[in-house]
């Protein structure tokens, strides 16, 4: 199975994602430069975290027009699994592949810490191996993770079960306001597309794939997509 990790000028979690896919998961993984038109026959596409184009104008606003994004959109439209992490999530929002927008964190601080996120839905490309309600300990690392969408859009996301991750209190597992690190609407940490193959999230699962990094809780997302694609017979043999 082949992972494509898209690299924009300013991406800085690309190597973390590559490491998780290739060395932890034992899958094929390749970097794809943002000016490339082709995804190189990838089975999974990851838009990594970072500061694409220096976050100029708005986070993800310039990256959205990179040549590779046409291929990413076509890949997503065809049902291919796409995961946007942090800045990758912001790019998916700007590109219109996911609904909503990001605002500056309500406390204005850049936040870098481990948070608890609850898996709300398991029928997406990246949460199939999770348990419903499972609480994952995953780091966040952002200045603009304050997820916003108009109320009617939020209601629709809830109705269609497209809120995939919520910031929750570690002890109770409930989405309290104290557990909301950035002011995100309804404690939303991640959402998915209508077809459930495109997932965007602010927390960084690729940085939590090995216990030596403080948590291995993020690995289940990557295992999910491998399992989903293997079950669908959509790919060749793993490179392990």
């Amino acid at each position: 199975m082949k992972f494509a990790i898209v690299v924009f000028p300013g991406s800085n979690c690309d190597h973390d994602a590559h490491h998780a896919a290739k060395h932890v998961l034992g899958q094929d993984a390749e970097f794809v430069w943002h000016k490339d038109a082709s995804l190189g026959g990838a089975d999974v596409v990851i838009l990594p975290g970072g500061f694409a184009h220096g976050d100029y104008l708005r986070t993800g606003a310039i990256a959205r027009f990179s040549p590779v994004m046409k291929s990413v959109k076509a890949f997503a439209d065809a049902g291919g699994p796409v995961l946007g992490v942090c800045n990758g999530f912001q790019i998916l929002l700007e590109a219109g592949l996911l609904a909503g927008a990001m605002l500056r964190n309500s406390g204005l601080k850049f936040i870098c810490e481990h948070v608890s996120v609850r898996v709300e839905q398991t029928d997406t490309a990246f949460t199939g191996a999770c348990r419903q309600g499972q609480v994952l300990r995953i780091p966040i690392n952002h200045g603009e993770g304050n997820y916003f969408a108009p109320d009617d859009v939020l209601d629709r996301l809830e109705r269609e079960r497209r809120v995939i991750f919520r910031y929750v209190d570690a002890a109770s597992g409930e989405p309290t306001s104290a557990a909301n690190p950035n002011g995100a609407a309804r404690n939303i940490a991640g959402i998915c597309s209508e077809r459930r193959n495109v997932v965007g999230m602010m927390p960084h699962p690729e940085r939590a794939c090995e216990p030596i990094l403080g948590s291995g809780d993020g690995l289940v997302l990557f295992e999910s997509v491998v399992r989903a694609l293997s079950a669908a017979g959509a790919v060749g043999t793993a490179a392990r």
Binding site: L57, R58, F65, L103, N105, G107
Partner: protein, 79 residues
């Protein structure tokens, strides 16, 4: 021709930066300043034959890139 584009957050969108600026002003003694909303301002040099054409180009650019319609609205002025 010069077009000026003013991008502002929609009224329904909370502006944490504006709030912080307002709080700073209050601590400076400007208690008469109420709410503050922060926005963006762009000056575009547009090759156009008429003000109308320049305004259309600037509006197009604002729609596609300068503003995010989910959270922002904009206003265009042309000299």
């Amino acid at each position: 021709m010069k077009a000026r584009v003013f991008v502002t957050l929609k009224p329904s969108v909370f502006d944490p930066q504006g709030r912080t600026i307002a709080e700073a002003l209050h601590s400076m003694g400007y208690t008469g300043v109420g709410d503050v909303r922060q926005g963006k301002y762009f000056e575009l040099e547009v090759d156009a034959k008429s003000a109308e054409e320049a305004k259309t180009v600037a509006g197009d650019v604002a729609d596609k890139l300068l503003a995010n319609p989910v959270i922002e609205s904009y206003r265009v002025e042309v000299d």
